[in-house]
Symmetry: C2
Subunit: 147 residues, 2 copies
DNA sequence: GTAACTGCAAAACTTTTGCAACCAG
DNA sequence: CTGGTTGCAAAAGTTTTGCAGTTAC
Protein backbone atom coordinates (compact mmCIF):
# COMPACT_ATOMS: atom_id res chain seq x y z
CA UNK A 1 0.00 0.00 0.00
CA UNK A 2 1.45 3.32 -1.09
CA UNK A 3 0.79 6.57 0.67
CA UNK A 4 -2.26 8.21 -0.89
CA UNK A 5 -2.02 11.39 1.12
CA UNK A 6 -1.59 14.42 -1.10
CA UNK A 7 1.71 16.21 -1.10
CA UNK A 8 1.63 19.32 1.03
CA UNK A 9 2.38 22.38 -1.04
CA UNK A 10 3.85 25.59 0.28
CA UNK A 11 0.45 27.23 0.23
CA UNK A 12 -1.16 24.41 2.12
CA UNK A 13 1.65 24.60 4.62
CA UNK A 14 0.91 28.25 5.25
CA UNK A 15 -2.68 27.16 5.80
CA UNK A 16 -1.52 24.54 8.25
CA UNK A 17 0.27 27.09 10.39
CA UNK A 18 -2.79 29.29 10.43
CA UNK A 19 -4.95 26.44 11.58
CA UNK A 20 -2.48 25.40 14.25
CA UNK A 21 -2.31 29.00 15.39
CA UNK A 22 -6.00 28.90 16.27
CA UNK A 23 -5.81 25.47 17.85
CA UNK A 24 -7.23 23.40 15.02
CA UNK A 25 -5.47 20.32 13.76
CA UNK A 26 -4.67 20.85 10.08
CA UNK A 27 -6.52 17.92 8.59
CA UNK A 28 -6.96 17.37 4.87
CA UNK A 29 -10.54 18.59 4.91
CA UNK A 30 -9.83 21.69 6.92
CA UNK A 31 -6.84 22.55 4.76
CA UNK A 32 -8.85 22.10 1.59
CA UNK A 33 -11.76 24.22 2.84
CA UNK A 34 -9.41 26.88 4.18
CA UNK A 35 -7.72 26.91 0.79
CA UNK A 36 -11.02 27.57 -0.94
CA UNK A 37 -12.03 30.20 1.58
CA UNK A 38 -8.87 32.16 2.15
CA UNK A 39 -6.71 31.97 -0.93
CA UNK A 40 -8.30 34.82 -2.85
CA UNK A 41 -10.62 37.71 -2.24
CA UNK A 42 -13.09 38.02 0.58
CA UNK A 43 -15.96 35.65 0.17
CA UNK A 44 -19.45 34.88 1.40
CA UNK A 45 -20.45 31.26 1.54
CA UNK A 46 -23.13 29.00 2.89
CA UNK A 47 -22.42 25.46 4.03
CA UNK A 48 -24.18 24.20 0.94
CA UNK A 49 -22.29 26.43 -1.49
CA UNK A 50 -18.94 25.60 0.02
CA UNK A 51 -19.75 21.92 0.00
CA UNK A 52 -20.64 22.06 -3.69
CA UNK A 53 -17.54 24.03 -4.48
CA UNK A 54 -15.33 21.60 -2.61
CA UNK A 55 -16.92 18.64 -4.32
CA UNK A 56 -16.52 20.30 -7.72
CA UNK A 57 -12.81 20.75 -6.95
CA UNK A 58 -12.47 17.09 -6.14
CA UNK A 59 -12.19 17.61 -2.40
CA UNK A 60 -13.62 14.66 -0.56
CA UNK A 61 -15.62 16.06 2.32
CA UNK A 62 -19.08 15.52 3.76
CA UNK A 63 -21.69 18.22 4.22
CA UNK A 64 -21.70 17.61 7.98
CA UNK A 65 -17.97 18.27 8.10
CA UNK A 66 -18.44 21.48 6.14
CA UNK A 67 -20.98 22.63 8.71
CA UNK A 68 -18.71 21.65 11.57
CA UNK A 69 -15.70 23.26 9.95
CA UNK A 70 -17.49 26.53 9.27
CA UNK A 71 -18.52 26.69 12.90
CA UNK A 72 -15.03 25.86 14.10
CA UNK A 73 -13.59 28.56 11.84
CA UNK A 74 -16.17 30.97 13.15
CA UNK A 75 -15.41 30.14 16.76
CA UNK A 76 -11.72 30.54 16.00
CA UNK A 77 -12.33 34.00 14.58
CA UNK A 78 -11.37 33.05 11.03
CA UNK A 79 -14.90 33.69 9.77
CA UNK A 80 -17.85 35.86 10.71
CA UNK A 81 -21.43 34.77 10.50
CA UNK A 82 -23.69 37.14 8.58
CA UNK A 83 -27.31 37.09 9.55
CA UNK A 84 -29.52 38.34 6.75
CA UNK A 85 -32.07 35.58 6.40
CA UNK A 86 -33.77 33.36 8.93
CA UNK A 87 -33.33 29.92 7.56
CA UNK A 88 -29.86 30.05 6.07
CA UNK A 89 -26.44 30.75 7.58
CA UNK A 90 -23.90 32.80 5.68
CA UNK A 91 -20.24 33.06 6.52
CA UNK A 92 -17.96 35.92 5.59
CA UNK A 93 -14.20 35.58 5.25
CA UNK A 94 -13.78 39.28 5.97
CA UNK A 95 -13.61 39.65 9.72
CA UNK A 96 -12.90 43.38 9.99
CA UNK A 97 -15.68 45.82 10.84
CA UNK A 98 -17.98 46.28 7.89
CA UNK A 99 -21.58 45.79 6.89
CA UNK A 100 -23.65 44.10 4.21
CA UNK A 101 -25.86 44.52 1.20
CA UNK A 102 -28.26 41.66 0.83
CA UNK A 103 -30.15 40.97 -2.36
CA UNK A 104 -33.35 39.39 -1.16
CA UNK A 105 -34.15 37.91 -4.54
CA UNK A 106 -30.86 36.25 -5.41
CA UNK A 107 -29.62 35.73 -1.87
CA UNK A 108 -26.33 37.38 -2.80
CA UNK A 109 -24.36 39.24 -0.16
CA UNK A 110 -21.98 42.11 -0.76
CA UNK A 111 -19.70 43.83 1.67
CA UNK A 112 -20.24 47.51 2.17
CA UNK A 113 -18.18 49.92 4.17
CA UNK A 114 -20.35 52.36 6.04
CA UNK A 115 -18.82 55.15 8.04
CA UNK A 116 -21.05 54.49 10.97
CA UNK A 117 -19.57 55.63 14.21
CA UNK A 118 -20.11 52.51 16.21
CA UNK A 119 -18.84 54.18 19.35
CA UNK A 120 -21.42 56.89 19.01
CA UNK A 121 -24.05 54.29 18.35
CA UNK A 122 -23.08 52.34 21.43
CA UNK A 123 -23.46 55.44 23.54
CA UNK A 124 -26.94 56.07 22.25
CA UNK A 125 -28.10 52.60 23.19
CA UNK A 126 -29.39 51.99 26.66
CA UNK A 127 -27.55 48.75 27.43
CA UNK A 128 -29.22 46.65 30.13
CA UNK A 129 -27.27 46.03 33.32
CA UNK A 130 -24.94 43.06 33.13
CA UNK A 131 -24.85 43.20 29.36
CA UNK A 132 -22.40 44.51 26.84
CA UNK A 133 -22.65 45.15 23.12
CA UNK A 134 -21.04 42.29 21.28
CA UNK A 135 -21.61 43.69 17.81
CA UNK A 136 -23.60 46.00 15.60
CA UNK A 137 -24.78 44.66 12.28
CA UNK A 138 -26.25 46.75 9.53
CA UNK A 139 -28.00 45.05 6.64
CA UNK A 140 -29.09 47.05 3.61
CA UNK A 141 -31.73 45.03 1.80
CA UNK A 142 -32.06 45.22 -1.95
CA UNK A 143 -34.92 44.41 -4.28
CA UNK A 144 -35.69 44.76 -7.93
CA UNK A 145 -36.43 48.42 -8.54
CA UNK A 146 -40.01 49.11 -9.58
CA UNK A 147 -41.38 46.56 -7.18
CA UNK B 1 -75.04 25.74 25.45
CA UNK B 2 -75.86 25.31 21.79
CA UNK B 3 -73.88 27.92 19.93
CA UNK B 4 -70.24 27.43 20.82
CA UNK B 5 -69.00 30.45 18.93
CA UNK B 6 -67.63 33.07 21.27
CA UNK B 7 -69.50 36.30 21.60
CA UNK B 8 -67.88 39.09 19.66
CA UNK B 9 -66.88 41.90 21.97
CA UNK B 10 -66.40 45.48 20.96
CA UNK B 11 -62.65 44.99 20.96
CA UNK B 12 -62.83 41.96 18.77
CA UNK B 13 -65.09 43.84 16.45
CA UNK B 14 -62.50 46.55 16.04
CA UNK B 15 -60.09 43.74 15.19
CA UNK B 16 -62.49 42.43 12.60
CA UNK B 17 -62.60 45.76 10.79
CA UNK B 18 -58.82 45.93 10.80
CA UNK B 19 -58.58 42.50 9.29
CA UNK B 20 -61.19 43.28 6.67
CA UNK B 21 -59.37 46.49 5.87
CA UNK B 22 -56.31 44.51 4.79
CA UNK B 23 -58.31 41.92 2.91
CA UNK B 24 -58.29 39.12 5.44
CA UNK B 25 -61.45 37.38 6.49
CA UNK B 26 -61.86 37.84 10.26
CA UNK B 27 -61.94 34.23 11.35
CA UNK B 28 -61.89 33.11 14.96
CA UNK B 29 -58.21 32.22 14.86
CA UNK B 30 -57.11 35.41 13.18
CA UNK B 31 -59.19 37.49 15.57
CA UNK B 32 -57.77 35.68 18.57
CA UNK B 33 -54.16 36.01 17.39
CA UNK B 34 -54.68 39.63 16.44
CA UNK B 35 -56.13 40.20 19.90
CA UNK B 36 -53.01 38.78 21.52
CA UNK B 37 -50.71 40.70 19.23
CA UNK B 38 -52.29 44.11 19.02
CA UNK B 39 -54.26 44.80 22.16
CA UNK B 40 -51.39 46.10 24.27
CA UNK B 41 -47.87 47.32 23.86
CA UNK B 42 -45.60 46.56 20.96
CA UNK B 43 -44.50 42.97 20.99
CA UNK B 44 -41.96 40.59 19.51
CA UNK B 45 -43.09 37.03 18.98
CA UNK B 46 -42.05 33.86 17.27
CA UNK B 47 -44.54 31.41 15.82
CA UNK B 48 -43.77 29.06 18.67
CA UNK B 49 -44.18 31.67 21.40
CA UNK B 50 -47.44 32.96 19.97
CA UNK B 51 -48.74 29.44 19.60
CA UNK B 52 -47.97 28.67 23.23
CA UNK B 53 -49.52 31.90 24.37
CA UNK B 54 -52.66 31.27 22.37
CA UNK B 55 -52.94 27.75 23.70
CA UNK B 56 -52.42 28.98 27.26
CA UNK B 57 -55.28 31.44 26.73
CA UNK B 58 -57.54 28.66 25.56
CA UNK B 59 -57.45 29.66 21.92
CA UNK B 60 -57.82 26.64 19.71
CA UNK B 61 -55.35 27.05 16.88
CA UNK B 62 -52.72 24.90 15.24
CA UNK B 63 -49.07 25.79 14.92
CA UNK B 64 -49.32 25.69 11.15
CA UNK B 65 -52.10 28.26 11.26
CA UNK B 66 -50.01 30.47 13.52
CA UNK B 67 -47.21 30.35 10.94
CA UNK B 68 -49.61 31.07 8.13
CA UNK B 69 -51.30 33.86 10.04
CA UNK B 70 -48.03 35.55 10.96
CA UNK B 71 -47.02 35.53 7.32
CA UNK B 72 -50.39 36.85 6.22
CA UNK B 73 -50.18 39.64 8.79
CA UNK B 74 -46.67 40.40 7.62
CA UNK B 75 -47.73 40.52 3.97
CA UNK B 76 -50.62 42.77 4.95
CA UNK B 77 -48.22 45.16 6.69
CA UNK B 78 -49.60 44.50 10.16
CA UNK B 79 -46.30 42.98 11.30
CA UNK B 80 -42.64 43.30 10.44
CA UNK B 81 -40.22 40.41 10.38
CA UNK B 82 -37.07 40.94 12.42
CA UNK B 83 -34.03 39.01 11.33
CA UNK B 84 -31.59 38.55 14.15
CA UNK B 85 -30.96 34.83 14.12
CA UNK B 86 -30.65 32.36 11.31
CA UNK B 87 -32.92 29.58 12.35
CA UNK B 88 -35.79 31.42 13.95
CA UNK B 89 -38.22 34.03 12.66
CA UNK B 90 -39.30 36.89 14.86
CA UNK B 91 -42.21 39.21 14.21
CA UNK B 92 -42.57 42.72 15.53
CA UNK B 93 -45.91 44.44 16.02
CA UNK B 94 -44.25 47.83 15.67
CA UNK B 95 -44.11 48.65 12.00
CA UNK B 96 -42.66 52.15 12.13
CA UNK B 97 -38.97 52.75 11.40
CA UNK B 98 -36.86 51.56 14.28
CA UNK B 99 -34.13 49.08 15.09
CA UNK B 100 -33.39 46.28 17.50
CA UNK B 101 -31.39 45.10 20.45
CA UNK B 102 -30.97 41.37 20.45
CA UNK B 103 -29.84 39.42 23.48
CA UNK B 104 -27.99 36.49 22.01
CA UNK B 105 -28.22 34.47 25.19
CA UNK B 106 -31.91 34.78 25.99
CA UNK B 107 -33.13 35.42 22.45
CA UNK B 108 -35.00 38.49 23.69
CA UNK B 109 -35.56 41.39 21.32
CA UNK B 110 -36.01 45.01 22.31
CA UNK B 111 -36.90 47.94 20.15
CA UNK B 112 -34.41 50.75 20.00
CA UNK B 113 -34.78 54.09 18.34
CA UNK B 114 -31.56 55.12 16.65
CA UNK B 115 -31.24 58.47 15.02
CA UNK B 116 -29.65 57.01 11.97
CA UNK B 117 -30.16 59.11 8.90
CA UNK B 118 -31.37 56.42 6.58
CA UNK B 119 -31.41 58.81 3.65
CA UNK B 120 -27.78 59.62 4.19
CA UNK B 121 -27.02 55.95 4.49
CA UNK B 122 -28.81 55.19 1.27
CA UNK B 123 -26.74 57.76 -0.52
CA UNK B 124 -23.51 56.24 0.70
CA UNK B 125 -24.42 52.83 -0.63
CA UNK B 126 -23.56 51.98 -4.18
CA UNK B 127 -26.84 50.39 -5.23
CA UNK B 128 -26.51 48.00 -8.19
CA UNK B 129 -28.37 48.90 -11.37
CA UNK B 130 -31.95 47.69 -11.43
CA UNK B 131 -32.08 47.47 -7.66
CA UNK B 132 -33.48 49.65 -4.94
CA UNK B 133 -33.04 49.64 -1.19
CA UNK B 134 -36.02 47.95 0.39
CA UNK B 135 -34.90 48.44 3.96
CA UNK B 136 -32.06 49.05 6.35
CA UNK B 137 -31.91 46.94 9.47
CA UNK B 138 -29.61 47.60 12.39
CA UNK B 139 -29.17 44.94 15.03
CA UNK B 140 -27.24 45.68 18.20
CA UNK B 141 -26.17 42.37 19.71
CA UNK B 142 -25.91 41.94 23.46
CA UNK B 143 -24.03 39.45 25.58
CA UNK B 144 -23.30 38.95 29.23
CA UNK B 145 -20.70 41.53 30.19
CA UNK B 146 -17.37 40.06 31.17
CA UNK B 147 -17.52 37.44 28.49
C1' DG C 1 -0.71 4.51 20.18
C1' DT C 2 -4.23 7.74 21.05
C1' DA C 3 -6.96 11.67 20.97
C1' DA C 4 -8.85 14.41 17.49
C1' DC C 5 -11.37 14.31 13.42
C1' DT C 6 -14.44 12.60 9.63
C1' DG C 7 -18.30 10.41 7.29
C1' DC C 8 -22.61 8.70 7.26
C1' DA C 9 -27.06 8.36 8.59
C1' DA C 10 -30.25 9.59 11.73
C1' DA C 11 -32.19 13.08 14.55
C1' DA C 12 -33.61 17.66 15.68
C1' DC C 13 -35.66 21.91 14.41
C1' DT C 14 -38.16 25.29 12.01
C1' DT C 15 -41.26 26.24 8.41
C1' DT C 16 -44.24 25.01 4.44
C1' DT C 17 -47.72 22.37 2.05
C1' DG C 18 -51.55 19.08 0.50
C1' DC C 19 -55.94 17.94 1.36
C1' DA C 20 -60.25 16.84 3.73
C1' DA C 21 -63.21 19.08 6.90
C1' DC C 22 -65.10 23.44 8.42
C1' DC C 23 -66.86 28.10 8.62
C1' DA C 24 -67.91 33.11 7.31
C1' DG C 25 -70.69 35.69 4.48
C1' DC D 1 -74.13 27.45 -0.92
C1' DT D 2 -69.20 28.35 -1.84
C1' DG D 3 -64.79 29.78 -1.60
C1' DG D 4 -61.67 31.04 1.91
C1' DT D 5 -59.59 28.91 6.20
C1' DT D 6 -58.09 25.57 9.31
C1' DG D 7 -56.03 21.40 11.22
C1' DC D 8 -53.40 17.63 10.81
C1' DA D 9 -49.89 15.12 9.21
C1' DA D 10 -46.51 14.79 6.07
C1' DA D 11 -42.84 16.95 3.60
C1' DA D 12 -39.12 20.00 2.95
C1' DG D 13 -35.03 22.45 4.20
C1' DT D 14 -31.24 23.45 7.25
C1' DT D 15 -28.22 22.23 10.90
C1' DT D 16 -26.64 19.09 14.62
C1' DT D 17 -25.35 14.75 16.61
C1' DG D 18 -23.96 9.79 17.70
C1' DC D 19 -20.84 6.58 16.68
C1' DA D 20 -17.72 3.53 14.16
C1' DG D 21 -13.77 4.07 11.60
C1' DT D 22 -9.71 7.01 10.17
C1' DT D 23 -5.96 10.25 10.64
C1' DA D 24 -2.52 13.45 12.54
C1' DC D 25 1.25 13.61 15.32
Amino acid sequence: MTDTRPTITAQEDRGASHLRAVGLRPTQQRLALAGLLFSGEDRHVTAESLYEEATAHGVKVSLATVYNTLNQFKDAGLLREVIVHSGKSYYDTKTEAHHHLYDEESGRIQDVHLEVDEEELRQKVDVPAGKRISGVDIVVRLRQSGN
